[in-house]
């Protein structure tokens, strides 16, 4: 179900969008070297929630927030936060989604068989990793081993399709924000864990998309032909089927990036899992609640956020053509 193309003339818009995104990325990349009068986290105790000034020895060009931090430096730090968090999260989720969805669509529930010894190997690894109490361990492991030996010849069918669909249904039942809320409650998570959480939330949709596409691609003549020619299955999958099945991700990845940026800034706005040491656009926006008249806290971060999200969406629309 493709969303219809909205702007017949989105070619020009796409260039603008790309240009804007490149600018944000460049600012984020070069943030440590930009000649800014203030660092993003240093409070200026003489200027708390001060409006923008252009005069004086070290003016705050975009004002300060209720903690005394420079808003302009915060904007730059916020774009760096996008590069460090949302972008890698999207990239990882895309890769994970493409691989798992592609595998599930190609092999289904019965297509991929592991040789019997793989099961024994897994059992041994599990024993070593868990080191269960001897009696309980033997009670579980012995029947499993017997089963493994019985299926030695036929191998084990991995229910890939069921696993991927089940995981994506499970993670898709509760709104993302609520899941993050449930898992990220408490002390700040740190960028690493937040990244893991975002990837965990974003991959199911992508996997579903690729899986659906893959089920069509695997029946296409050229894939059938490659298989008939005797190429190894893995090679057919990797070189011929997966690139075609991943096509929809070109449009979906920018949308996911936009969604993750939105989610991440919402989290920062709600103050979940964040510390003052990492400045982001959402956080600056959230501080408006402490200084209700401070329009400069909305103007800068709000415009940047809106422009970035609009750019990503128009890019997604462009990619659908």
């Amino acid at each position: 179900m493709k969303a219809p193309r909205l702007h017949p003339s989105s070619g020009g818009a796409a260039y603008w969008a790309l240009g804007w995104l490149a600018l944000v990325a460049a600012v984020g990349l070069l943030a440590p070297w930009l000649p800014l009068p203030y660092s993003a986290t240093a409070p200026d105790l003489a200027n708390i929630a001060a409006p923008p000034t252009w005069h004086g020895p070290a003016p705050h060009y975009a004002g300060t927030d209720p903690l005394g931090r420079d808003v302009l430096a915060g904007l730059v730090a916020g774009s760096r936060q996008l590069l460090l968090l949302s972008l890698p999260a999207t990239a990882l989720a895309t890769a994970l989604g493409a691989l798992s969805g592609g595998a599930a669509g190609y092999w289904g529930n019965h297509g991929l068989r592991l040789p019997g010894w793989a099961g024994l190997l897994g059992l041994a690894a599990a024993w070593w990793g868990l080191r269960p109490p001897l009696l309980v361990g033997l009670g579980v492991a012995l029947p499993l081993a017997v089963l493994l030996v019985r299926y030695w010849r036929r191998g084990w069918a991995v229910p890939l399709d069921g696993l991927v669909l089940g995981a994506s249904t499970l993670l898709g039942t509760v709104p993302r924000l609520l899941l993050v809320l449930a898992f990220a409650a408490g002390p700040p998570l740190g960028t690493g864990w937040l990244l893991v959480l975002l990837v965990l939330l974003a991959w199911p949709d992508m996997a579903r998309l690729v899986r659906t596409q893959m089920r069509q691609v695997r029946t296409l003549p050229y894939v059938e032909a490659a298989r008939a020619a005797g190429l190894p299955t893995g090679r057919v999958w990797w070189h011929h089927a997966l690139p075609a099945a991943s096509q929809p991700l070109r449009a979906f990845a920018p949308l996911t990036l936009a969604a993750l940026i939105g989610l991440e800034s919402t989290l920062a706005f709600l103050g979940i899992g964040y510390s003052e040491a990492t400045v982001s656009w959402g956080q600056l926006l959230g501080e408006l609640r402490q200084a209700p008249g401070a329009w400069w806290l909305v103007a800068g971060p709000g415009t940047l956020l809106l422009a970035t999200l609009v750019a990503l969406q128009s890019l997604a629309r462009r990619s659908e053509v």
């Binding site: 969303a3 509760v174 969406q313």
Partner: protein, 354 residues
């Protein structure tokens, strides 16, 4: 058909159980801090005359009352060399919780010792009308705007402007939108026309018209935010679907027969374009729940979203789990219902399921 429904429902229960267990056990992975809530901060002057022994004793009593002194799960793993596993039998927190849930006892909030259901019910009673109102309003608006967008040439200034506004709204996260509305409409420095928070202090009798008016005025900002956020999601696909229908042969034929444009849109194209709208509507539910969290926190409304956000911030797991379970249950049931509706609306599907 019945078998299919049954499998789906079993799946729903299974998914809800897995999710709730995951939240419960992940909560246990972190050190449990919840018991602090009921205790005096021991560095306050009020506790100045208690010996540390007394503090420890009452802490232990509290842990016992809240079943926090038991291990978290049937087996736990003692860290560090040598790695050891311990079997605790049925006396563990997870078993206690699961048994309670199966008997319909959802436990008590760790914050104020109230039964969880007694906390959820009023919050839900507040959120549900808000969400239904938002849903109804945005659907009605979407139908109108969609019809307007589809019923004429795209390039008129009105349609271009509307389209631009909708695209902008679609990109804007809800909290920015709500914040802007708050800043514009409830700010003494700008326009001070709407209240910024629901203080709950209605003076009037709940059945009177004045009460209802006060209720709507207080809900105006949150409602507006939710409707505006949901609008593009509904309108743009609907407009596209309508356009597609209007370009199809039956519409061309009808137009050739002289059916008026308005009648063509509302009576011929719309019934065919409504099916995708239905899909979008069921997909909108999670967005609305997430929206409720943002809006209720921002406008200080005593609803489900704020309850859950607060429960998460204070690690009040009984409330949090019940909330997650409720949302998941509603969502899964809505999915099943949407499938059923689809099945009922589209005769072609019946053949594949039968």
């Amino acid at each position: 058909m019945l078998g299919w429904l049954l499998t789906r429902l079993v799946g729903v229960v299974l998914a809800a159980w897995l999710l709730a267990s995951a939240v419960f056990l992940l909560g246990q992975l972190r050190p449990s801090f919840a018991e602090q809530q009921a205790l005096a901060r021991t560095d306050e002057p009020a506790a100045a005359f208690s010996s540390p022994g007394q503090v420890a004793a009452s802490q232990q009593a509290l842990r016992q009352r809240l079943v926090l002194d038991q291990p978290a799960f049937y087996v736990t793993r003692a860290a560090g060399p040598p790695v050891r596993w311990q079997w605790h039998g049925l006396h563990n927190q997870y078993h206690h919780w699961l048994r309670g849930v199966l008997r319909g006892q959802w436990g008590r909030s760790l914050r104020d010792d109230q039964p969880v259901l007694e906390k959820l019910a009023p919050a839900l009673a507040y959120t549900l009308p808000l969400m239904s109102l938002a849903l109804a309003l945005s659907t009605a608006l979407a139908l109108g705007l969609g019809a307007y967008l589809a019923s004429g040439p795209l390039a008129t200034p009105g349609r271009v402007a509307l389209r631009l506004v909708l695209t902008g709204l679609q990109a804007l996260p809800l909290f920015v939108l709500a914040l802007l509305l708050l800043l514009l409409l409830a700010n003494p420095e700008m326009l001070d026309i709407l209240p910024a928070a629901d203080l709950g202090n209605y003076d009037a009798d709940p059945s009177s018209g004045r009460w209802l008016a006060a209720y709507f005025i207080r809900l105006a900002l949150p409602l507006l935010s939710l409707v505006l956020a949901a609008l593009p999601e509904l309108t743009l696909p609907l407009a596209a679907a309508l356009r597609h229908e209007l370009a199809s042969p039956y519409a061309v034929a009808a137009r050739a027969k002289g059916v008026p444009a308005r009648r063509l849109v509302w009576h011929h194209a719309l019934p065919n374009a409504v099916l995708p709208l239905l899909v979008t509507l069921t997909g909108l539910l999670p967005a609305l729940v997430a929206g409720a969290v943002v809006v209720e926190v921002l406008f200080a409304l005593p609803g489900m979203g704020r309850l859950l956000a607060e429960a998460a911030a204070t690690q009040d797991y009984p409330v949090l789990i019940a909330g997650v379970l409720l949302t998941a249950g509603v969502r899964l049931l809505a999915l099943v219902a949407a499938d059923l509706l689809h099945y009922w609306l589209d005769p072609r599907l019946r053949a594949t399921l039968a």
